[in-house]
Symmetry: C2
Subunit: 311 residues, 2 copies
């Protein structure tokens, strides 16, 4: 078996890839996600796209190790989704359905967890088997890899790093209903929120005194040595670094990979997270390596393939 399909199902598009079994992306394309009628066309569309690609490249199914899939929902270790708001799915036996549709072996995982697996295989965590990935996007997602395998958990909800409580005094609510979730401080939205609170009562001159400050603006200003921006970054990094120190005490990772839109700020981000981490890390976890994600949008299809190939 020389090839494997990787599929990353999002609410708007499905990213698809044909990879070889050492992880080279041979082909990459997208199809729209049809979420109408409880997303019933999504898996048939994926299967049809796979058939078309096999034909186009004159490949036999016997050449294909399988189809790995990341979906925006918790996924049990049996490949079952109990509902995905983004896709319109209710209860769905994704693994079984896709195997019937394609005649290929299918392995299904949560998209954030699958992306983490991709980063472990071919990205920032390459060479390691124990990894925490934090994805700083609109929300805070994440994935935990233990001994080369995704930490799936009982309900497929393992790795929900964004919903650690990091501030028991918080009065604003998180989207999940709780108060004080990491997501409220370390996501792009969270950074904007921290900036807003800071700028409300800030007297000093700062690049950030403008309309609609974004997380990117904050880290751009940090690069310009803007003192106010640096203080926002310190606050962001303290919540995230302390949370990661707590996780490391239990997960004992070799590497912590920072991904998502916020990570596009680049290396400037790392010391803001690593310093508070080191202040609070258990002694056994002080040699953890911090690094940025490297695969960008390809992490999902890479990880999906690795899910099929196994350790």
């Amino acid at each position: 078996m020389k090839y494997c399909f990787g599929v990353d199902i999002g609410g708007t598009t499905v990213k698809m890839g044909l990879l070889d079994t050492v992880g080279n992306i041979l082909d990459k394309w997208e199809i729209p996600t049809n979420t109408s009628e409880e997303g019933k066309a999504i898996l048939p569309d994926v299967a049809a796209s796979i058939e078309k690609k096999l034909e186009e490249r004159s490949l036999n199914k016997s050449d294909i190790a399988g189809v790995g899939v990341g979906v925006p929902a918790p996924v049990t270790s049996e490949g079952i989704v109990n509902g995905s708001a983004n896709l319109g799915w209710k209860y769905k036996e994704v693994k079984r359905e896709l195997e019937e549709l394609t005649g290929l072996r299918a392995e299904i995982g949560n998209d954030a967890n699958v992306a983490a697996l991709g980063e472990m295989w071919k990205g920032g965590g390459a060479g390691e088997k124990n990894m925490i990935m934090v994805t700083l996007g609109t929300g805070v997602g994440g994935g935990v890899i233990i001994d080369g395998r995704i930490l799936v958990g009982q309900n497929g909800a393992g790795g929900e790093i964004g919903h650690l409580c990091v501030n028991y005094e918080e009065t604003d609510r998180c989207g999940c209903g709780n108060r004080g979730c990491l997501e409220q401080y370390a996501s792009a939205t969270g950074i904007v929120r921290l900036a807003g609170k800071k700028l409300e009562k800030e007297q000093r001159p700062t690049i950030l005194k403008k309309e609609d400050v974004t997380a990117k603006d904050v880290f751009d200003a940090v690069k310009e040595e803007d003192e106010v921006a640096k203080e926002i970054a310190v606050e962001f990094g303290q919540y995230l670094g302390h949370a990661l120190a707590n996780l490391a005490a239990v997960l004992d990772p070799a590497v912590i990979v920072i991904g998502g839109g916020v990570s596009k700020a680049g290396e400037v981000l790392i010391p803001y997270i690593q310093k508070p981490y080191m202040e609070r890390a258990f002694f056994a976890n002080r040699n953890v390596r911090f690094t940025l994600a490297e695969l960008g949008n390809d992490a999902g299809i890479c990880g999906a393939v690795k899910l099929v190939l196994g350790d």
Copy 2:
């Protein structure tokens, strides 16, 4: 293969057991731990005791699946210990040495992690594959089981639940050098510390106004509906319950098992932990079952055997 040895090495005694492969304890005994000269006699003593038991029961090595061992130190996935203060060991290839000494397959794990595996197999977590165990003793230990396997981590330091920081304002130091570790509030010692602080300025009458209050005294007083004791239990439970809610967001367990000396207080303990847990748990983790450990001192030898037998 019908039998397996389970060995739980402590700083004073080595607990040993002969079990069948479904987990019945057929025989149980102890030998002293000889920690002199960097504990060099410990493994030979264990091996000699196994040989003696085989002879005594006229068993052949071909009947034995192996020897599982729990040791009071981090253990890598290769069965290597990089130092154990309690045993006097420096770097030691425990798995290799014991296999050479016994001619049997050996599997080695950290004692708290191995005890957690025992509780999953035959105790409070029986029937589950995703479990957090918290051991409330002199310190706070723990073990995490994911998909039936111990979360070992990169340095063998996985599951160090006692060193989650739960109070960033704490001024007293934990034994590990940090401040605000869970161990400072939820261990037997921690509960005594909480009681001491409370009683210093307490005006109300309470059973606890006496010399040398112990953790047991606190929970005995709780059972007597002593208001002051109940407030100490609330504080204890809040630190522990909130920490467990954070862990559950990432680990997604089916069951949380409470063990160690403090757990001898019994069922009265559970609501004090579960209520704050439920206040802060991520919605996917609200169906977690809380239960007490059931195996007591046998958890180590049971888990050690399960380590050999695998999932």
